[in-house]
């Protein structure tokens, strides 16, 4: 066979393994031997390169981060109850927010026309750490790591409904159909593992199941990029990856034997037909086999210390919980996964702020903080960018009757909200941007969604204007035709 007939894709996936790795993956070695013989000789001695796939031109510049963990708080957390402390709201409690502030901007149909009565933070606020960052009393764990976080308090967006809001944050457009951030990144940068998908998605929601939003699969779609860049959703029950397990009655040894023969058949067929797709297929079947071992290994928490597990809180061992997913996220990036997208639903407190908000904080505060601490302890935070935030904020005015505690709520609010980032070359212990005294409008160093995306891409070594894909005659990118890197928050 001709060495030059090996397709680039195959080189990316298979040939960068060392011989030892190849043989280690096989009990009987036959299939792997066939595979090894296909590699170009000059590649065998080369330094194993920790990257599989991706565009040759990327990264555009030296990256600060290699991985992203995006904790998307589905339903929109209330910024004035959590981080954006507004004493002024206490003074105005129950009074109408001045028109000079709200300027009659569009709000959701649910509160359109209602009086905008100022409604202060639900619980107490204190300052923490050297940075003196504010956090509410329901967030003791996040409060303990504020010096590792960069708060952006001047976020704003266009969308006022959940699905368009999330789609906007993840794809740069409110309409479904464009690639998700994780798809762009794995398309551009490939992954650092060939044993696991490069873009993994996990979902969770509050135990009380207060909110009915669907996790639409277009949130992690590859859009017009090839479908192999679509996020792989790890399921909250059973096999995390569909069809991962061998059928009942077929052991790993039996499977290995069958795959060894399969590789030989396919290698001989390649010799006759010369189609590079055949080689790719051999490599993909081998990767499937490795995933069958690496995924159970990934989900086996018995290798964690007791203290390590306890750090993530009581739900950590419950598959499908946010705590479980946070620990999984660390284990995924540890294994070289490029982009981990978490969703946690249950923040949509229109009428249940007094009952649900505290629960929601409790369920997410400890795991999210533990994730940052854990990454830091292990030296992984340096090249992992952790992002926390919702699709918009919640109104600083009340939705519902201020005199009926059980009816307290806040509506959707796109004009100002807070997100935080940690690690990945972002300045720790700072607060960037400001909303007005009511938390109504972002007024200082405003950050829009495309700027936010441009900054994340930048940390991964990507110029957001240059990572493009031509579709239907037009060059598309994550940041559409907008976006500016927020230089002030870069370390």
């Amino acid at each position: 066979m001709q060495p030059n007939a090996i397709p680039p894709d195959f080189l990316n996936h298979a040939a960068q393994m060392t011989r030892r790795q190849l043989f280690a993956g096989s009990a009987m070695g036959l299939g792997s031997a066939a595979l090894a013989s296909m590699m170009a000789p000059d590649l065998n001695g080369a330094e194993p390169q920790q990257r599989f796939g991706g565009l040759p031109a990327l990264p555009h510049h030296a990256p600060k981060a290699k991985h992203v963990i995006y904790l998307l708080m589905n339903g929109a957390p209330p910024h004035v109850d959590m981080f954006d402390y507004k004493p002024e709201l206490e003074k105005w409690r129950g009074q109408e927010i001045p028109e000079s502030v709200h300027q009659n901007q569009r709000v959701s149909t649910m509160t359109q026309g209602a009086k905008k009565l100022a409604f202060p933070a639900f619980t107490g606020f204190k300052q923490y750490g050297k940075s003196g960052a504010w956090a509410c009393d329901f967030l003791p764990h996040t409060a303990s790591i504020v010096d590792d976080l960069c708060f952006i308090k001047s976020m704003h967006t266009n969308a006022v409904n959940h699905a368009p809001g999330i789609t906007f944050f993840l794809t740069g457009s409110e309409m479904p159909g464009r690639p998700s951030m994780g798809a762009w990144m794995t398309y551009g940068l490939g992954s650092e593992t060939q044993d696991l998908p490069g873009f993994v998605v996990m979902t969770s929601r509050d135990k009380e199941a207060t909110c009915g939003q669907i996790f639409y699969d277009f949130y992690w779609s590859s859009g017009f990029l090839p479908s192999k860049f679509q996020g792989v959703k790890f399921r909250g029950a059973g096999d995390p990856v569909l069809y991962l397990s061998n059928p009942d009655g077929m052991s790993r040894e039996v499977r290995r034997g069958l795959l060894d023969d399969l590789a030989e058949f396919n290698a001989e067929h390649f010799a006759e037909f010369g189609d590079p797709e055949i080689n790719t297929r051999i490599a993909q079947y081998e990767m499937a086999y490795r995933m069958q071992a690496s995924v159970p290994d990934l989900t086996d928490f018995s290798t964690e210390t007791k203290a390590g597990l306890e750090m993530y809180g009581p739900d950590v061992e419950r598959q499908g919980s946010f705590a479980h997913n946070c620990l999984m996220a660390r284990r995924l990036v540890e294994r070289g996964v490029r982009f981990v997208q978490l969703f946690h639903a249950g923040w949509d407190h229109h009428r249940n702020l007094s009952t649900q908000f505290e629960i929601q904080c409790r369920d997410t505060d400890q795991p999210a903080a533990a994730l940052v601490k854990d990454l830091k302890q292990r030296g992984l935070l340096e090249d992992t960018l952790v992002v926390w935030g919702g699709e918009f904020g919640r109104t600083p005015f009340i939705q519902g009757n201020i005199n009926e505690r059980t009816q307290w709520g806040r509506d959707h609010h796109p004009y100002a909200f807070t997100t935080w980032m940690a690690g990945g070359g972002i300045k720790p212990g700072i607060t960037y941007g400001k909303s007005d005294d009511f938390g109504f409008n972002a007024v200082e160093n405003r950050v829009d969604v495309h700027n936010f995306q441009a900054t994340i891409l930048n940390q991964l070594g990507i110029d957001h204007e240059r990572l493009t894909f031509k579709f239907q005659g037009r060059q598309y990118r994550l940041t559409d035709v907008h976006g500016k890197v927020i230089k002030d928050i870069l370390a």
Binding site: L244, D261, Y285
Partner: protein, 1015 residues
């Protein structure tokens, strides 16, 4: 090396054959369409193109007039042309394209632009907007294998690359290829034998004719059409209700099988309802444009949805028939192609007068509908409608009467409120207690009950009480704290919570109808009312207000019960999924005070009643009357009757066979340009119209969809025939002659064989849009019949096989891999049409996607073995057994073909594939033709690949079989488990270990690259 080649291919493709044959020494003149337009379009049109609103510097470069008017282009004088000065400028403020666009011209491109201006700077119309004319078939050497004119074009093109045809594929491969391509299933061993035995010159042609006549032909050909039509079995969006568009799907299969001419196929689907005396089939055909998603979310504005559906139809029509990307014209003029936003809405006018509301207004479907109800079903529906109408009438009349009596009620009610100081509650005394699981229930001094002892995950208490009251109006349930409980309770969960899922009461053996009034505290989505909803998973809970007493009040709605022993049986159920959420301490009391004394009367109503009736403002009057009518028992009952009647009618209507079709309203809607595509921001009114740059429509054409359909298939339309033959070409060769199947516009790819595309388009149209004829032409061409072996170097030189120096080779679509597995295993139930079926699927997929609201109820028996085509397609969670599939959410004319480990996991492990492996093993072991191991191995291998294994291959398989035999011979448990996969039962005659070993071998064969690939 790769780069140089890539340029060779791209630049070479558009070369007219003539120029190559004459081999002129002088440099040929620049060709605008081939060389210049792509540069201008990619780099300039975004700001200087057809979109007038966003045009910069008033300069347009998409027409000769525009480019010359401003001096950007001075024909013949590149040195004086501003365009050239600007592209050559070194000044970042001057140079075009501007640096911030990230666009950059290469030196070659700059030189081309210069030469083009020096040669006159002429513009020609975009190639695909000029109607095709049948080109002359090129002359080719006599040595070439020419089956039909297709080959002349292919061979001539190969000659320019110094390439020649590949040899013809061997007959086994050829029959497998064409059988899969035309029926989606592999040939049977018998069909193979017959074909190999037929030595006549036209044996292949006869085989093709046989396949074209097979009923499976339509089942195969319809797939790509279903993708294009965004066909699915549910509406999409939240709720995702089921629809019955499979009537349309079956119509489309039949249309392919009947070889309906493509013009008729077009007309019936776009406007079948407007044909004179349309048949039932012609009406079903119009389901094509009802296949889009329907948004039935509660808060949706119907008109907004309706406008979206109209836009979807415009864009789908654009993509499917014309290969145009019209979506951008929703908001503005097209950036590259000469279409205006106005023309988009003129097209929209054709689809804007469907008799639809935009709402999900017909029981899970949206009008207009076609009903297939039998006469007796229709009669029952009519009766249910009468019941519903009557119930509504009764309710409305009562409503009037009740309102008329409001003054009297108000007076009585105010008096009652004034004198009552809250009701008196009598604690019920306990006679007997029982816990379903044996928990201890102890009666305390205050009459409350305390649970202790066994604490199971779920429980149910049955308590018998005695009351001194003969009848009562209200019940009070107190959940009380106790030191013996976690967090002092009141529940027994590990945090002190409880979930009371149901509360049921009987008095004298008669069930009491209760209504929840209020609780002092309700946790999130656990309201008191959930204790009466009959759903065990929901209930009343109080986290995180632990260690405090909580009270739930109920009103008794039943009439006073008949006399009896006065015993009250109370059942408290704790059946939620929340473990041990059982009440720890509680007490029950009753009252016979008027309900008004304990009912939750909103403060606003109290306040309003306190105001003298002539002093009340509108808001106060409204508060009172609304409270009154919503709480008047007779009216509440009448409303319930009316709601039940509606539900009965709705449920029955949904169960009837109905499908969605097109029908025009009596009064057409006016159509407006919508600013940024928003339904509620109309600007100028427009009339029906088409894309005039493509082809004007006769001025006297009727303003109807029928005229639009006829325009699409008119002989002078430049796009429809080209786009259609290109899609079929893509289906057989993997890539279209125009690679961008969805975009024939200026930014789209240029055809690899422009003359061939035009020849085929004209041939197709002039044959009377004869699809089978076109398909036959393609699959009998020498190009198609070539071996698909890739010659050394060709994988790099022509990775996508655009030149067709070999036959097509690519992985089968996932649905076809499944059908093949079923076919070779003998499990396939080869029956056509009908409602979709739910095959094997890992548990929890739908539940995960819908928060448990939609459960996947897998079918059994024959349904599991139907062709993939009939698999139920839930739009928000597509069948997981398929991969690389269109999303069926919007129109798709091109499928991905990727190669990932996740795909390998499906074909290695999915139940269908394991069961098929067992079926294949079983039929081989029972085969009368193969009695010994080598012949069995051969038979099995041949079913999967159509060929015999080589000696080496057979040897490898034999050795593997021996290993498997040992493994399963020693492990009965593994054997039983493997054979138990799938719902069909293994033949009890067969030795289980032997069957398991052969099943493993079959699993290997079904995953061979050769087996899952068309080659």
């Amino acid at each position: 090396m790769t780069l140089r080649f890539a340029c060779g291919v791209l630049c070479g493709f558009w070369l007219p054959l003539l120029s190559v044959m004459t081999a002129a020494a002088a440099e040929p003149p620049v060709n605008f369409g081939r060389d210049i337009q792509p540069i201008l379009s990619e780099n300039c049109f975004h700001c200087h193109g057809p979109d007038a609103k966003h045009r910069e510097a008033d300069l347009r470069l998409d027409s000769f007039a525009g480019a010359t008017a401003t001096g950007a282009v001075k024909p013949g004088k590149s040195a004086e042309s501003e365009l050239i000065l600007r592209i050559l400028s070194a000044d970042p403020g001057e140079v075009m394209p501007p640096p911030k666009s990230n666009l950059k011209l290469t030196d070659v491109q700059k030189q081309l632009l210069k030469r083009w201006i020096d040669e006159g700077g002429q513009y020609t119309k975009h190639w695909s907007f000029i109607a095709p004319v049948r080109p002359a078939v090129p002359m080719v050497p006599a040595t070439a294998r020419i089956q039909n004119p297709i080959d002349a074009f292919i061979v001539a093109r190969l000659a320019t690359e110094n390439l020649s045809q590949a040899a013809e594929a061997d007959r086994v491969k050829l029959l497998r290829r064409v059988t899969l391509d035309l029926t989606g299933l592999p040939p049977t061993p018998e069909e193979l034998d017959a074909f190999l035995a037929d030595t006549s010159a036209d044996s292949y042609e006869k085989a093709v004719d046989r396949l074209l006549e097979s009923r499976r032909y339509g089942e195969r050909m319809v797939w790509e059409w279903l993708d294009a039509a965004r066909y699915a079995d549910t509406n999409g969006y939240q709720g995702d209700p089921t629809r019955a568009m499979w009537y349309w799907r079956d119509w489309a299969i039949e249309a392919f099988n009947k070889n309906m001419p493509f013009d008729q196929f077009t007309i019936e689907q776009l406007a079948g309802d407007l044909l004179p005396n349309p048949t039932r089939e012609q009406l079903i055909a119009t389901g094509f444009h009802r296949n889009h998603m329907i948004n039935g979310e509660g808060g949706r504005i119907a008109e907004e949805s309706r406008v979206e559906y109209v836009q979807d139809r415009v864009e789908t029509t654009g993509t499917v028939w014309m290969g145009l990307t019209l979506t951008c014209c929703r908001c503005h003029d097209h950036k590259y192609d000469p279409f205006s936003q106005k023309e988009y809405y003129q097209l929209a006018a054709y689809f804007n007068s469907i008799d639809e509301s935009g709402a999900n207004d017909a029981g899970g479907l949206a009008n207009p509908l076609l009903s297939f109800a039998l006469p007796e079903q229709q009669k029952k529906l009519d009766e249910l409608r009468v019941v519903e109408t009557d119930a509504n009438k009764t309710r409305d009349e009562l409503d009037k009467k009740v309102r008329a009596a409001q003054a009297t009620w108000e007076q009585e009610f105010s008096q009652l409120l004034a004198k009552s100081g809250g009701p008196e509650w009598t604690v019920l005394s306990v006679v007997d207690t029982k816990s379903e699981t044996g928990a201890t229930l102890k009666v305390l001094e205050d009459g409350s009950l305390l649970a202790s002892g066994t604490n199971p995950s779920q429980d149910s208490f049955a308590i018998t009480f005695k009351s001194s009251l003969a009848s009562f109006t209200g019940i009070r349930l107190e959940a009380l704290p106790d030191d013996s409980l976690v967090n002092k309770g009141p529940g027994r969960a590990d945090n002190g919570n409880f979930v009371l899922s149901e509360l049921k009461l009987q008095l004298n053996g008669q069930p009491l109808e209760l209504a929840a009034i209020r609780a002092d505290f309700e946790q999130g989505s656990f309201p008191l009312s959930a204790t009466l909803d009959g759903k065990p998973e929901t209930g009343w809970a109080v986290a995180s207000e632990f260690g405090r007493p909580h009270t739930g009040l109920y009103e008794v709605r039943s009439a006073p019960a008949a006399a009896g022993d006065g015993k009250i049986l109370c059942r408290l159920e704790f059946r939620s999924p929340h473990v041990s959420h059982v009440l720890g301490r509680f007490r029950l009391s009753v009252t016979n005070a008027p309900t008004a004394t304990f009912r939750s009367i909103p403060d606003k109503v109290r306040e309003a009643l306190a105001v003298a009736s002539d002093k009340r403002d509108d808001a106060q009057r409204k508060e009172i009357s609304e409270y009154y009518v919503n709480n008047e028992p007779s009216l509440v009952a009448a409303k319930k009757v009316a709601e039940d009647a509606r539900k009965n009618r709705d449920g029955f209507e949904r169960s009837l066979p109905r499908t969605m079709v097109m029908r025009e309203r009596a009064q057409p809607r006016e159509t407006f340009i919508l600013v940024k595509g928003a339904y509620n921001v109309p600007s100028d009114k427009v009339e029906h119209g088409v894309l005039t740059e493509i082809l004007p429509i006769p001025a006297d054409a009727p303003k109807s969809r029928l005229a639009l359909a006829q325009w699409l298939v008119s002989p002078t339309h430049p796009l429809t025939a080209r786009v259609t033959v290109n899609r079929f070409w893509q289906q057989f060769f993997g890539t279209g002659l125009v690679k961008s199947t969805e975009d024939f516009g200026i930014q789209g790819d240029r055809p690899s064989h422009p003359e061939l595309l035009d020849w085929l388009a004209v041939e197709f149209r002039e044959s009377g849009w004869n699809v089978k004829r076109l398909v036959k032409l393609i699959v009998t061409s020498a190009a198609y019949r070539q071996s698909s072996k890739i010659a050394p170097g060709m994988a790099e030189r022509d990775p996508e096989n655009r030149l067709l120096a070999r036959g097509p080779r690519f992985r089968l679509p996932s649905w076809m891999i499944r059908d093949q597995a079923l076919a070779v295993s003998g499990l396939l139930i080869d029956r056509s049409g009908g409602a979709p079926v739910k095959g094997y699927q890992p548990s929890g997929v739908w539940e995960d996607a819908t928060f448990g609201r939609i459960q996947y109820a897998q079918d059994h028996g024959e349904a599991l073995y139907r062709r993939s085509l009939y698999t139920f397609w839930r739009r928000i969670a597509a069948p997981t057994v398929f991969f690389d599939i269109a999303n069926r959410q919007n129109c798709s004319v091109k499928n991905d073909r990727t190669n990932t480990p996740l795909h390998a996991l499906v074909t290695l492990n999915d139940v269908t594939y394991i069961e098929a492996a067992r079926g294949l093993a079983q039929r081989t072991l029972l085969s009368s033709a193969s009695k010994d191991e080598p012949s069995r191995i051969s038979e099995m291998f041949r079913r999967c690949t159509c060929r015999q294994p080589t000696a080496k291959e057979a040897d490898r398989l034999g050795k593997r079989l021996a290993v498997l035999r040992t493994t399963y011979g020693q492990n009965t448990d593994a054997t039983q488990k493997l054979l138990a996969v799938g719902e069909s039962k293994p033949d009890p005659q067969l030795n289980p270990a032997e069957l398991a070993a052969w099943t493993g071998l079959a699993n290997l064969m079904l995953n061979l690259d050769e087996a899952i690939t068309k080659e």
